[in-house]
Symmetry: D2
């Protein structure tokens, strides 16, 4: 006789269901990470929501405050970054808001906005190495020496525009205040000490946030995502400003400022 199992095997019902542990959607009921959304709305902060979504549980009050400060620190750097310029150029071309903002976010490459992840990865690897009996200050010395030997810049230290990035010490201060200053922040500060003495280079916003996010337990692969959350409102403000105040089709230079060094007309 044909059993249920035999039949199931013959007809192989669609088993390609999409699996998720983030949100359960049922008619009139939306459960996120174990909480009904209507109970989250109005009762937690945005930073708590970010933490809950990504890590699956609510942070402590101190952690939430710390993450909020990190998000805010990423808010805007004027019209200097390629991402902001790209977003505004796309806006001046007449594209919809989401297109302009995403165009800006696509410029988060390894030379811009990439430092947060590189710095987190470096600090997390550094702390891994302390397991083998080395102190944090010793690790810092080894890491700086290695990077100097390879003539590589240490991500999270030094800044294109600032010799003293005003955001970094403020973030370190808040890490202490919110009791979120752990071994990754300590390592970052040790590195700064060495770099400042030897090369007059200070920690920047990425180095500070790399330490803090690592101490908050964030995987370094999520670093640029946290940056994106923090910067999106700034990009939106810039797109809105471009549309509201500037004529369409921004010309970023006169035609005679373009230098053509290709071939002249071939006959």
């Amino acid at each position: 006789m044909i059993s249920e199992n035999v039949l199931k095997d013959i007809f192989k019902p669609n088993n390609l269901k999409w699996r998720t542990a983030i949100t359960k959607v049922e008619p009139n009921r939306i459960l996120t990470r174990g909480y009904l959304q209507e109970k989250l709305i109005g009762n937690i902060s945005f930073a708590e929501m970010v933490y809950l979504l990504v890590k699956g549980e609510l942070p402590s009050k101190n952690e939430a405050k710390m993450l909020e400060s990190v998000l805010i620190s990423f808010c805007d750097h004027g019209v200097t970054p390629p991402s902001t310029q790209a977003a505004r150029l796309i806006a001046s071309a007449g594209s919809p808001l989401n297109t302009c903002i995403t165009g800006g976010l696509l410029a988060f490459g390894k030379n811009h906005a990439g430092a947060i992840e590189f710095s987190m990865e470096m600090l997390q690897e550094g702390i891994q190495r302390t397991r083998s009996d080395l102190d944090i200050d010793k690790i810092a010395q080894i890491m700086v020496a290695e990077s100097m030997k390879n003539q590589k810049k240490i991500p999270g230290f030094g800044h294109r525009y600032h010799t003293e990035d005003p955001r970094a010490p403020r973030l370190m201060e808040l890490a202490q205040k919110n009791k979120c200053f752990g071994r990754h922040c300590e390592l970052a500060l040790e590195i700064e000490n060495i770099l400042f003495e030897s090369k007059d280079i200070r920690m920047n916003i990425d180095g500070a946030n790399a330490g803090i996010l690592s101490d908050l337990g964030f995987d370094w692969r999520l670093g640029s995502g946290i940056f994106m959350i923090g910067r999106l409102p700034g990009l939106m403000a810039h797109v809105h400003e471009e549309i509201s105040r500037d004529p369409p089709f921004r010309k970023i230079f006169h035609n005679d400022e373009i230098y053509y060094d290709g071939e002249e007309e071939k006959l």
Copy 2:
């Protein structure tokens, strides 16, 4: 004699400077909307930062709380939206985090996530019309009648998955509590009353947030941007889940589930 003005005109110095009123960047000093960033970090909430960036001034405490609730309400709707599916598919293809998230945000089109702007535009136009001596309840009647006549769906009411979107009444309740319930919210509720009586249709999250954001003074052109800020953390959580738990190159159906109805081989 050659005067300064004559010379200036001849050499026409580069006057294509990029103008912005959002952030001033100087060495070691970053001023956003009149506030040094190190004074904002740790002292205001993320919602206050969003408001400050976009509108140029800080909100009241009640407005800040309200905007925070709005942002949180957009957090996630599981794997049902095209944006989330697109982001996860792109992640399964092995693209970087920012690429996956932006791919998702590109799916904020007129059929998905567009309702917030359509609803804001409609409510703001409705309130404009009250200037000509009509009461809000009368305007609501006219608007519903017009859309019924044109057989058009009213944006912000009814939901694909929910007959009673649990987020909408919670948001309305918070609007009252935070004293952000103004004429746009009133109009949204009047429309709901008519639609519920005649068609058993209720306000959804977009209708509620459209009323609230309009009462907070947001231009309807920024509606989808607010949605993007709120949803980005959810998209990031989904991309992270995809990469952490699922094999690469997600197959959303078996090959034999594709139905080809094109031409067979031409000889």
Copy 3:
């Protein structure tokens, strides 16, 4: 025993199959629009492939030549367009090739690259109106008069950089030569005649291609897509040039060329 319900539940046919008439994929067999791909490769031109994919059948030889010329005409306009600038800025930020190119394509908005669709739509509507007994020259007069009355620019005529766009007459000449000059091209030329006499304005590349693509039977909704196909190689060349010859993190202006007109520090 297996009841009807048990069977139904097991067998529940998945009716969400994805339907397509473009390509049938079977093991070791790929059939596109009725042709085995290995028979297309090496036997047709790229323009024929574009036509086949989009319209479902191969073009005539003349149509294929014409479409190829249209694609080539979109190739590049140096570093003047926002799309090219955005692509290069994103490249200078260190993003992957596909990200840079897509960032550029996102700048195809209504003020840049949008004219091809607006022009196609206008010409196609114009030819629709000739059904009601009006000649093409009469239609042209009405259309120009209407746009002048509304003080609207006619899309496809006039150019930011060129008083005589050298691509337009070449394309019109090829339309004649390839016997692809139909009623839409005729209408475009009639409009040019009126605009040139009254305002010294000539047809640009978009007006020419709008006429040609319309006479080739392309839906105006596909205009910017044809532009994208033609421009992608140019964007790729620019991204490659940026990466090969320029330092990372392009600065498009000095810091002192940014003009901040926002609020000074609030105390």
Copy 4:
């Protein structure tokens, strides 16, 4: 009187000019890689244009034919790839054409479309190694042995859907016919011989095109760009099909096909 400093300040030459060797734009004159565009339009093929833009000179007739075949071979693979699915999902959400297509292209990650570059890089490195006195067949053996030892898949061989990808032998045949079969193609074939004997694995489209594009002198960093040019028309056809034939907001699965394995409601 005008002092030296006043003059310098007025004249301050903007040295941030944007340099390019691709296209020179002057009023009514557009020169690309040394050719007036109106002389290119109608006189060269699309593949020749791609080659000219990227490499700065026109290819031979055989090279042009070969590149055209490569472009066509990338045209479409039905609705199976994540890129096509993402593009169609974004289209079903009601986004504009360029947004849908770019969303698709963002899915060109390391697990999908990435193989062409990995394969080109591998073949180009392999041929570099032949300089040190090793024959191609010996290099092939070493490369396969290395990858087996590291349990890594060799990019460009084997296919998710096809045991014999019908495009690969056709491309190899055309490489011979067009005299574009050089040392990289030879290496690819040697690798196939070893893999086929030992593991019954054959060359796929990426392996074939990797050999051909390398023999045509393309930098492996451009591999995915060539793929993008070839695939864009296919993505456009799919977006157009989605919009023309399918209802908005595609649901790729029933709600009960989603498997939630997260936390249940917390009390």
